[in-house]
C-alpha cells in the first residue's frame, strides 16, 4: 500500500511535467512520423515503419533516464527524500516506488509509438506483445541508469550526462542509421551495448521471425537490464545512507 502511494506520486509528478511528456512521448512520435513521411518519398529501408518503429521506441526510453534521474535528484535536493526516509517506508518499497511508475510510462510510450507506426503501415499482430520481451528490459536499463545519475548528480548538473545517455542510445541503437554500414569501432561499440540488440530483436519479431532466432540478443539485453538495475539499486541505497 505504501509503495503504491509513493509510486502514484512519482507517476503523477512525471505526467504533470508537460515538457517531459512532450520530450519523452510526443517528440519521438513526431520524429517517427517525419521519418516515415520521408520514407514515402525517398525509400530508405531504415525509415520503413517496421524498422523505424522499434528504433524510435527504444530511443524514447532514453528519456526515462532523464525522468528518473531528475525525480531522484530533485527529491534529494529538496529534502523530500529525507522526509520519506524518516517514515516507516522500507528500502525495497522505496526502490519499487521510484522505478515502477517508469515502466508504466515505458508502456505508454510503446503504445503511442506502436499506434503511430501502425497508422503508417507497420504490421499489427502478436509481435507487438512479444516485442515487450525486449522493450521491458530495455526500459529497465534506462531506469537503472537514471537511478545512478540521480544518485550521483545534482538536478542542475543532470543535462550533460542525461544528454550523453540520450545520444548514446540514439546513435548506438541503430534507430536512425544503420551502424553496420559504418563498421569499425562504431559497429563494435554498438554490438557491445544492448540497445542495437533490442532494436534488431524487435525488428525480427515484427518481421514474423521466431523468437528463437533472437534469443541470444534477448539474453544479452536481460543481462544488461539486471546489471544496470542492480547498480541503480546500489547507488540509490548508497545515496539514501548518506543523506
Amino acid at each position: 500500500m505504501r509503495t503504491v502511494a509513493l509510486a502514484g506520486r512519482v507517476f503523477k509528478e512525471v505526467y504533470r511535467d508537460k515538457a517531459g511528456i512532450t520530450l519523452g512521448i510526443i517528440y519521438p512520435a513526431m520524429l517517427m512520423v517525419i521519418f516515415m513521411l520521408i520514407e514515402g518519398h525517398v525509400p530508405v529501408d531504415i525509415f520503413e515503419p517496421i524498422n523505424i518503429m522499434p528504433g524510435i521506441t527504444v530511443f524514447s526510453f532514453a528519456f526515462l533516464t532523464m525522468f528518473s534521474a531528475s525525480m531522484l535528484s530533485r527529491d534529494r535536493e529538496k529534502a523530500f527524500l529525507i522526509r520519506l526516509l524518516t517514515t516507516p517506508l522500507k528500502p525495497g518499497e522505496f526502490i519499487l516506488a521510484y522505478s515502477l511508475p517508469y515502466f508504466l510510462i515505458a508502456l505508454l510510450q510503446t503504445v503511442v509509438m506502436f499506434i503511430t507506426g501502425t497508422l503508417f503501415g507497420a504490421p499489427a499482430g502478436i509481435g507487438y506483445i512479444t516485442s515487450l520481451l525486449f522493450l521491458l528490459p530495455t526500459a529497465m536499463i534506462c531506469i537503472g541508469i537514471g537511478m545512478i545519475l540521480g544518485s550521483l548528480f545534482a538536478e542542475s548538473a543532470l543535462p550533460a550526462p542525461g544528454t550523453i545517455t540520450i545520444v548514446v542510445i540514439a546513435f548506438f541503437s541503430g534507430a536512425f542509421a544503420d551502424f553496420k554500414m559504418i563498421g569499425g569501432i562504431v559497429r563494435t561499440i554498438a554490438l557491445i551495448l544492448p540497445f542495437s540488440h533490442a532494436v534488431d530483436g524487435i525488428r525480427s519479431i515484427l518481421a514474423g521471425n521466431p523468437l528463437s532466432e533472437v534469443m541470444n540478443s534477448l539474453y544479452l539485453v536481460v543481462a544488461y537490464a539486471l546489471l544496470f538495475y542492480l547498480l541503480g539499486i546500489l547507488f540509490f541505497r548508497w545515496r539514501t545512507r548518506s543523506v
Binding site: M1, I82, T86, V243
Partner: protein, 309 residues
C-alpha cells in the same frame, strides 16, 4: 506525561572523516517540552537531529528516543516521530491535499481515515483554501506550514523541526510559532534554529551548540540571567594595530572589530586598563561606550569566542 525523558542523548558523536560534526553530546529532553538546539550554520544541529531520526548512525554513543535505542530500533522510532526537514520538503507538482494524503497513506491510514486526518491538518494549518493548489504556487510561509502539517500527519508524540522558520518574513514566522505554541505540553518538540528570538519565544529549554559541542544549556531565563553579568565596551578609533588587539585578547576572550567599532566583551571589563592599553599603542580614542548586553550578545559570545581568539 511519563517521567522518563522523551530523548536521552548519551555521548552521541558523529564524525565525517576528520570532521567531528557532533562531539560527545549528553542532553536530556523532557516529555511535553519545547527544546531548542541553537547554533550557527554548521554547528551540528541538523546532524544531531538526523541521528535522532535514525537517518544517520552515530559514530559512537547512543540516544534513547521515546524508549527506543536509535542504534537498534530505527523502524520503531520512525513509526512514532514526525520530522519537518530544514528545506521545504514537499512534492511541488502535487497539490497541498495530495501531499498530505500521500504522507497519510505512507503511514498506513485507510482512505477514509486519511481524508479525515488531512482535513483536520488543513484546518489547523489554515491551508484549506489552498488545498487544491499545486504546492509550487504556494508562498514560502504556506509551504512551511505544509511542511509542518506533513510532519504532524501521524499525530506523533515527538516532533523534530529543523529550522522551521528559515527564510520566512516576520508575519509568516509568527504564524509557525503559533502552531508550535499550540503543542506546548502536548507533544515533545525538538527544534533547531539560529534565531535566538525564536528559541526565546518558544522554548522551555535551550542548548547552544557550537562546533558539535554543547556550550551552554538552560532555560531562556537562565541564559538571560547569564547575559546580565556580561559587559560590552565599544571603542571607535582610527586604525587600532593588530598588536594592540592581540594584547586585549590575552585578557578578554571576545575582542572583535564590528561596524560600530572595536567590541570587547567580558564579565569584568577594567575600563581604565583597556583605555590605557589602547593609548599605549599610540591610538587616539574617538568615541567609547558601554552597551547593555542582550541574549543575542550572549549567544554570539558563545559561538564566536573561539574565532575571536
Amino acid at each position: 506525561m511519563s517521567e522518563t525523558p522523551a530523548i536521552q542523548m548519551m555521548g552521541i558523536t558523529k564524525r565525517f572523516g576528520k570532521l567531528t560534526a557532533v562531539n560527545n553530546v549528553d542532553l536530556s529532553i523532557k516529555r511535553g517540552e519545547v527544546f531548542s538546539l541553537l547554533g550557527p550554520n554548521g554547528a551540528g544541529k541538523t546532524t544531531t537531529i538526523k541521528m535522532l531520526c535514525c537517518l544517520l548512525k552515530p559514530t559512537s554513543g547512543s540516544a534513547i528516543v521515546l524508549g527506543y535505542d536509535i542504534n537498534r530500533d530505527s523502524e520503531k522510532i520512525k513509526q512514532i516521530i514526525g520530522v519537518s526537514p530544514q528545506e521545504t520538503a514537499v512534492a511541488e507538482k502535487l497539490t497541498t491535499r495530495e501531499n498530505l494524503n500521500l504522507m497519510a497513506r505512507i503511514y498506513g491510514f485507510s482512505k477514509e481515515d486519511a481524508r479525515e486526518r488531512v482535513e483536520t491538518l488543513l484546518d489547523m494549518t489554515e491551508l484549506s483554501e489552498r488545498s487544491n493548489d499545486r504546492v509550487k504556487r504556494l508562498s514560502g510561509g504556506m509551504k512551511r506550514r505544509l511542511n509542518l502539517a506533513m510532519a504532524l500527519i501521524s499525530d506523533p508524540d515527538l516532533l523534530f523541526l529543523d529550522e522551521p522558520t528559515l527564510g520566512l518574513d516576520p508575519h509568516a514566522r509568527r504564524s509557525i510559532w503559533k502552531q508550535i505554541e499550540a503543542f506546548k505540553g502536548k507533544k515533545t518538540i525538538l527544534l533547531t534554529t539560529h534565531y535566538l528570538e525564536e528559541a526565546d519565544a518558544l522554548s522551555d529549554h535551550v542548548a547552544v551548540i557550537k562546533d558539535g559541542k554543547i556550550v551552554a544549556h538552560g532555560t531562556p531565563h537562565e541564559l538571560k540571567r547569564d547575559a546580565a553579568v556580561m559587559q560590552i565596551m565599544v571603542i571607535r578609533a582610527q586604525r587600532i594595530p593588530e598588536a594592540c588587539i592581540d594584547e586585549l585578547k590575552t585578557n578578554y576572550p571576545f575582542v572583535k572589530e564590528t561596524a560600530e567599532g572595536l567590541e570587547i566583551r567580558g564579565e569584568r571589563l577594567v575600563f581604565d586598563g583597556i583605555v590605557d592599553l589602547i593609548r599605549s599603542h599610540g591610538v587616539k580614542i574617538e568615541w567609547l561606550t558601554m552597551k547593555q548586553p542582550s541574549l543575542d550578545d550572549v549567544f554570539s559570545s558563545l559561538v564566536e569566542e573561539e574565532g575571536a581568539e
